[in-house]
């Protein structure tokens, strides 16, 4: 079990509140420093990385070409889109929430970006902020609906899945056009040395989010709300503000994912983004973040994203029929959840 957040940690950095008791700050010891930067939670994330090593060994035996340098480059580039979505999804799931609208955000960003970039780098400066704004806006709407109007996250974001998609279809009127600019294509397809640009972006965003979750008061509140929202509230945490910020961040990472996808395929496609929310959620679950919130980390999520990506690639080049592939993927997710909730007591 994850250590329950104590009231002083929850309130640390927050303004003195009338309801929360003013507790003395603990003196830093080695163990609190470890806890502060979140190393203790890494034990939980270890599970997926052990699984990943096991999968790599299986791949090395069955289809070694997939983990040769060229294969790895492709893998890292492919997982970046889901990876970006999974970063935001992790934050939201830590608050005991879920965001089903991210696939629709990817689709709409893809359509808007392609139609407005029309292959011109000079449009980047306008279109990229606009696309990020779309993600942020959708996230804010999700957050406000969930925090202020008390709509359950599943219902709120499921509704937004349809609303956002319909808004995008209204915008395109069913006709997707345009093309990604060279800069966006470079982001989605290019490499810096041997490392795909999109993977650098994914890891950079994941690292930023990791820092945000582990080193800032905001991050501690995210964990606190997920573990026990009522306790967090009583400890003086402005839960509404934390929830809204979390969904906004999730929308933002989804928009980044949409931009990377636009660069990866180079144009706007009506079928883009469909089902990506579920793939991202699966990666987060495999990475050890509890759907019930409060437990998990981005280190696990990155492992989960790589695990699912490599598993998918292995299955694509094996002789297993499609239904068998889906069963293997589904069983992997269920197994991961079962191991985390029963056997794996790390963290």
């Amino acid at each position: 079990m994850e250590r329950p957040a104590s009231a002083d940690e929850i309130a640390a950095g927050s303004p003195p509140s009338e309801t929360g008791p003013a507790l003395p700050q603990p003196t830093p010891t080695t163990s609190t420093i470890v806890e502060r930067i979140g190393l203790h939670t890494l034990r939980r994330a270890l599970g997926v990385w052990i699984g990943l090593v096991g999968l790599v060994i299986v791949v090395a035996i069955l289809e070694p070409s997939l983990i040769e340098p060229d294969g790895l480059r492709l893998l890292l580039r492919q997982v970046s889109i889901i990876g970006l979505l999974a970063v935001g999804q992790t934050i939201v799931m830590l608050t005991a929430g879920i965001d089903l609208s991210v696939g629709s955000v990817v689709a709409v960003v893809n359509w808007v970006a392609a139609s407005l970039l029309v292959g011109q780098n000079s449009n980047n400066i306008k279109v990229i902020p606009l696309c990020l704004g779309i993600g942020l806006f959708v996230g804010l709407v999700n957050g406000v609906g969930i925090a202020k109007f008390r709509v359950p996250p599943f219902v709120m974001t499921l509704g937004m899945l349809f609303v956002v998609l319909a808004a995008g279809q209204w915008y395109t009127n069913g006709v997707t056009t345009g093309a990604a600019s060279e800069g966006v294509i470079e982001l989605g397809q290019g490499y810096l040395g041997p490392i795909p640009n999109s993977f650098i972006l994914f890891i950079g965003v994941a690292a930023l989010a990791y820092g945000l979750l582990k080193l800032t008061p905001y991050g501690r509140r995210v964990y606190a709300i997920g573990a026990n929202p009522r306790a967090a509230h009583l400890a003086g945490v402005n839960t509404d503000r934390v929830l809204i910020a979390s969904y906004a961040l999730c929308g933002l990472t989804a928009a980044l994912g949409g931009l990377v996808l636009t660069g990866f395929i180079g144009f706007g496609a009506t079928t883009s983004g469909q089902g990506l929310e579920l793939e991202a959620i699966a990666a987060v679950v495999i990475g050890g973040t509890a759907l019930a919130g409060g437990r998990g980390s981005l280190v696990g999520t990155v492992g989960g994203v790589l695990f699912l990506g490599l598993l998918f690639n292995l299955l694509v080049v094996t002789d297993i029929a499609q239904f068998g592939r889906l069963i293997v993927q589904g069983v992997a997710i269920i197994l991961a959840a079962a191991i985390y909730s029963r056997g794996w007591k790390g963290g």
Partner: protein, 434 residues
């Protein structure tokens, strides 16, 4: 709101270069509460509307008394175009009717049996009131099909009034659309069902004695209808499969990249392609995969195939959409020359790559103008000219190396679907602003 202003609103939605007066009229219309329908082109995409666009506003006269929407074209030319299109549609339909019943009957096709709408009541004279219920506007194939059918009916001399409805890919919406068409006592219902859940409404129309022509997507097999146009998707997959076998000289490695696993369209086409490859003993199917008709997934799967297999001679895919992603992967790997044939569909983007990159291709799909054929079939039935006893096979078009130039349209966007029958003025209208 009058019929005329609704019509104006629709024209403005479709093209950007309307007169200021019309724009003002539309803004007024929007203020009256049809914001989502108006599709104001200047709207900020950053502020998505809270609701999907409502139904296609409907009633329209057959031959518009006012000038045609494409202002630069004199009406006479538009009439010529309509006549020419109708003649082409009639010729194609005659070909298809001649093949009536040729396709193996599929269990999902509704059987045509005696019912309240079969044989249907005919109406030999007078203008017809036609209900055209299309499935939605989720992609350009559907848009071309929906708008194409409406245009065709509006310009048809036998038709007095067209009531078109947009199902918005939502069976509940389409059920109420069809019930409203029944209430308006249409002489003919042409319907592309959003899903089989629309079947009860189709049955109601038939029970009301309205001739019903169903096309492209399915209703429940026990639903009573008057006629149907369904493509033999197995044949569709087989067509480019055999082209690949020929291009490879009967020997080599192929991969199959399908759309959505488990749905009839993809599985039937893959079965057809598999059949073609299995008939050629020298052909080895290296792998089969699925893309969900998503170019990103198509690319990902192909990247892995290229990584795992040293020699791939042919790629078959059941649509041009994922083929575009696959070609991106092949091109990046520098292995385009290795492929003796790449098969996709009629997606203009695929045709552009085929044309520009110079590989050998094959394109096979059910044509996106099947709504026009279904409309003409329905009119022929109501006029008593013809009554099919079995399913009419859908128009399967195969684009080969020789006919590529006839189908590829560099002047239209990548999202256009090559078609035989849609008139140019309509295509320009659909793809205006792009």
């Amino acid at each position: 709101m009058t019929r005329k202003t609704r019509k104006a609103a629709r024209y403005v939605r479709r093209s950007r270069w309307k007169t200021l007066a019309l724009v003002v009229a539309v803004v007024g219309t929007l203020a009256l509460g049809l914001a989502a329908c108006g599709g104001d082109e200047t709207a900020e995409p950053a502020a998505p509307p809270a609701e999907p666009a409502p139904a296609e506003p409907a009633p329209a006269e057959p031959a518009p008394a006012e000038p045609a929407p494409a202002g630069e074209e004199p009406p006479a030319e538009g009439a010529d175009e309509a006549t020419a299109t109708r003649e082409k549609v009639q010729a194609t339909l005659a070909d298809l009717v001649a093949q009536e019943g040729s396709a193996d009957v599929k269990s999902e096709w509704p059987a045509i049996t005696e019912s309240s709408c079969y044989p249907p009541a005919t109406k030999p004279d007078g203008p017809l009131k036609v209900g055209y219920a299309y499935a939605g506007r989720a992609n350009t194939w559907q848009v071309q099909n929906g708008d194409g059918g409406v245009w065709f009916l509006e310009n048809h001399p036998d038709v007095g009034e067209v009531i078109a409805t947009d199902g918005e890919e939502n069976p509940d919406k389409q059920i109420s659309d069809i019930q409203s068409l029944i209430a308006q006592d249409v002489d003919l219902l042409v319907v592309n069902p959003a899903t089989t859940a629309v079947s009860p409404a189709v049955q109601q129309a038939c029970d009301a004695g309205i001739p019903v022509v169903v096309y492209d997507r399915f209703v429940e097999p026990d639903t009573n209808i008057t006629a149907s146009i369904y493509a033999d998707e197995v044949q569709d997959g087989y067509n480019c499969g055999t082209s690949i076998v020929e291009a490879l000289g009967g020997e080599g490695n192929v991969v199959l990249l399908g759309g959505i696993p488990g749905i009839g369209v993809t599985e039937d086409r893959m079965a057809g392609a598999r059949q073609a490859f299995e008939e050629a003993p020298g052909i080895n199917i290296l792998a089969e995969g699925y893309s969900d008709f998503d170019p990103a997934k198509g690319r990902q799967v192909t990247e892995e195939w290229l990584q795992a297999y040293d020699q791939i001679d042919g790629l078959w895919s059941d649509s041009g959409i994922q083929a575009v992603g696959a070609i991106g992967a092949i091109e990046e790997a520098g292995r385009l020359d290795e492929f003796k044939m790449i098969a996709g569909g009629q997606f203009n983007h695929f045709l552009r790559l085929w044309s520009e990159l110079g590989f050998t291709g094959c394109g096979s799909t059910i044509s996106s103008d099947v709504g026009l054929l279904a409309s003409q079939l329905g009119i022929d039935i109501v006029r008593g000219r013809y009554l099919p006893t079995e399913n009419i096979p859908g128009p399967l078009v195969v684009i080969s190396q020789d006919t590529l130039a006839d189908y590829y349209r560099p002047d239209l966007p990548d999202s256009y679907w090559a078609t035989d029958h849609l008139p140019d003025s309509l295509l320009q209208e659909i793809y205006a602003n792009q």
